[in-house]
Symmetry: C2
Subunit: 420 residues, 2 copies
């Protein structure tokens, strides 16, 4: 079938399911989430079998170890998916809440009421647990979803989605509310990105190439983040022990993720022999981090390689860190805004005025004060699961939870009120 | 200059001005708004002179009377712009507010704080007062703006913007915060729509052709409405007097605007001889409205012309109304969702259950209960001026005021908190 027709058919079924979901009420949607968790546990064997086929095919195709690890579903990971759905069920209902309500002098009542978006398409890569997380957050928020995972995870995704659809059906809701794209051609992505009237939002999660292709094709709204080029700035007044703890954690605790630090900025006051910068460099080298610095950072140790222009904009996703000495807060803020990716940036400081200036002027989705960039996370922020992280400014910014999958409508109630 | 270079230069200046605006504080921004109003009044003569040149050129180019009227700036309209800016200054500050704040058990404080978007581009057609309204709402919300008005209004827009820039400067803020595109080529629109990193949001206001061109070119977020195909549904239980008042007002009070009604749906119970539909038809014909109906509507009067399929989707913006008899609430809701434009739709009913079902199931930005569609308006809703009306679901829906030009950032404050 033509990709456009395929998406149109799936979109119409999803739109119709979304209408049922939107009026089903929060209790029914929570019943569905609980039933989905039960089905995941009950059919864990089937999921593992499907996953084993994906893994065999992946090995045959020469997938690397990191990708194979992301693709693997163990009993523990299946249990984590089920528990995640139950945690989503336990959250407050984001739908139906009155945001504002006013009554005009002439008695006209004006209410802004939170409602589901409708149909959300999510495009993602190898991790099959995204299937459960994304479907769960969409169900919670009363949305139907169209899920398009990586081709290497197709069997696993279909098995997981089969459990979710069964659970949705058990709660008396239409299983079409959770649709999985069961073909792997790129044309489907283009068709989803232009499915005006059928899809309300598209969330691409993956490499910059995939995301850029979606953005360039899209005529419907896209929320995404291209990259996480995160900074830690160590201010003149920083406490040394705090700075060392945060820098090591931000770079080393899990270097392959988007909220790991990629550039360290250090105030010139710390750049002398035996100063804080020397301690930080020693810590990082001892932890096996490759350092690429400007001239003043290189003066600290011959093991610091020279940084090129590209190093200030690169998301390494690896134990590599760019290091720069700055004259002060202004230069640090300007560097972050010029070279960063507006994801998560941190200041380590004992000076409340410096902290407030950094918070006010750094144009990023998360700004951390005396805390690691690694804490920029939907779980830490109390959102339960994440449907994605946004470095966009429209609609949702930073980690996106269930409420970020809602919009509002204006409900205006009169007694024959007209425009004079 | 190449359109891309032109936009890049303007965007960089605007981005830099936005940074100053964002930290200037609400009082300073209000001072700027008040100074802008003062300048508009002081230079009213200059504005009228520039406007007279636009009007002369427009007449020479054969612009129609309606367009010439929209283009005209009288002293009263200039005073209305100035008063509008003062009204915006008097509103609460949308920037800096804490949306949510929580402290985790380990002492990490997580705050969601409202901040400006940055740089907003607004593309609009002939009315020069949009220049003042849009600039005013952007200033209020701490955003720089790039304004691209219609070419027939260029001299007027530059004169109005000159006053605004002077007022901004008088308050000690950078005049580059309000930029007017002073060339008329379409290439600038494309360059604005792809100015990633320089422009955060583009709001096109105008005909569907203009808006579609922007959406198809855009790689930055767009908020817009294509059309206002608004419905009034008269339910079985509707009070006849209320229905007659609302239908007449929704269609006739100002037929050329987006929240005027374009289709009337009437419950079959009212379709008998001498019933409410007959009264509505008589009212509308007496008011000079051309009616195009389905078979049952045409049975009421020979003056009702036959409706074609196109009539259910057309935004007439004229004294024409499509009329259809429906079997009940379900058919009415399905018709509105299938043929409407998700702008504003009304039900007239005395039955609270019918009202609630219509509100819950009609997928529109504004749903009116026993009130005219004409009341869907930023002024009525208490937003002051409007930067536009959105039939999108992302970020802002319905009339958009100053708060809709803000986003948020996550501010996370610890004492050396790291990810374990």
């Amino acid at each position: 079938m033509d990709a456009k027709d395929y998406v149109r058919e799936m979109g119409r079924a999803a739109r119709s399911a979304a209408a049922a979901l939107a009026v089903a009420g929060g209790e029914r949607r929570n019943e569905a989430l609980t039933a989905c968790a039960r089905e995941l546990r009950r059919r864990a064997g089937d999921i593992r079998a499907a996953n084993a086929e994906d893994l065999d095919a992946g090995r045959a195709d020469g997938l690397g170890d990191a990708l194979l690890d992301r693709l693997t579903l163990t009993d523990a990971r299946i249990e984590a998916m089920a528990a995640g759905l139950e945690a989503i069920a336990a959250q407050p209902d984001p739908v139906g809440r009155t945001i504002t309500a006013t009554t005009r002098p002439d008695g006209l009542r004006i209410e802004k009421r939170r409602v589901p978006l409708g149909v959300v398409a999510i495009i993602y890569e190898s991790r099959p647990n995204v299937t459960a997380d994304a479907a769960g957050l969409c169900l919670k928020s009363g949305n139907a979803c169209i899920l398009r995972g990586g081709k290497e995870a197709l069997r696993s995704n279909l098995a997981v989605a089969g459990c979710i659809r069964a659970g949705v059906g058990e709660a008396g809701l239409p299983p079409e509310a959770v649709a999985v794209v069961d073909r792997t051609d790129r044309a489907v992505v283009g068709a989803l990105a232009t499915a005006e009237g059928l899809v309300d939002l598209i969330v691409p999660r993956g490499g910059e190439g995939l995301i850029r292709a979606v953005v360039e094709a899209a005529t419907i709204p896209v929320i995404k983040h291209y990259a996480g080029n995160c900074h830690v700035y160590v201010d003149a007044s920083a406490d040394a022990a705090t700075a060392r703890k945060i820098v090591l954690n931000a770079k080393c605790q899990r270097p392959g993720v988007c909220n790991a630090a990629e550039t360290l900025l250090v105030h010139a006051d710390h750049a002398g022999a035996g100063g804080l910068l020397a301690l930080l460099v020693a810590d990082l080298l001892a932890a096996g981090v490759e350092l690429r610095g400007d001239e003043r950072a290189r003066a600290i140790s011959p093991e610091v390689a020279p940084a090129g222009e590209d190093d200030w904009t690169t998301e390494y996703l690896a134990p590599i860190l760019a290091v720069k000495v700055v004259e002060g807060l202004d230069e640090a803020i300007e560097h972050v805004n010029a070279f960063g990716s507006h994801h998560t940036d941190a200041i380590v400081t004992a000076d409340p005025a410096a902290a407030e200036a950094f918070v006010a002027r750094v144009d990023s989705s998360s700004v951390m004060v005396n805390a690691s960039t690694r804490l920029s996370d939907g779980g830490v922020y109390g959102l339960g699961a994440e449907v994605g992280i946004s470095t966009d400014k429209l609609h949702a910014r930073g980690p996106m939870g269930a409420e970020d999958l809602t919009t509002y409508k204006w409900v205006v109630t009169g007694e024959g009120h007209v425009r004079e």
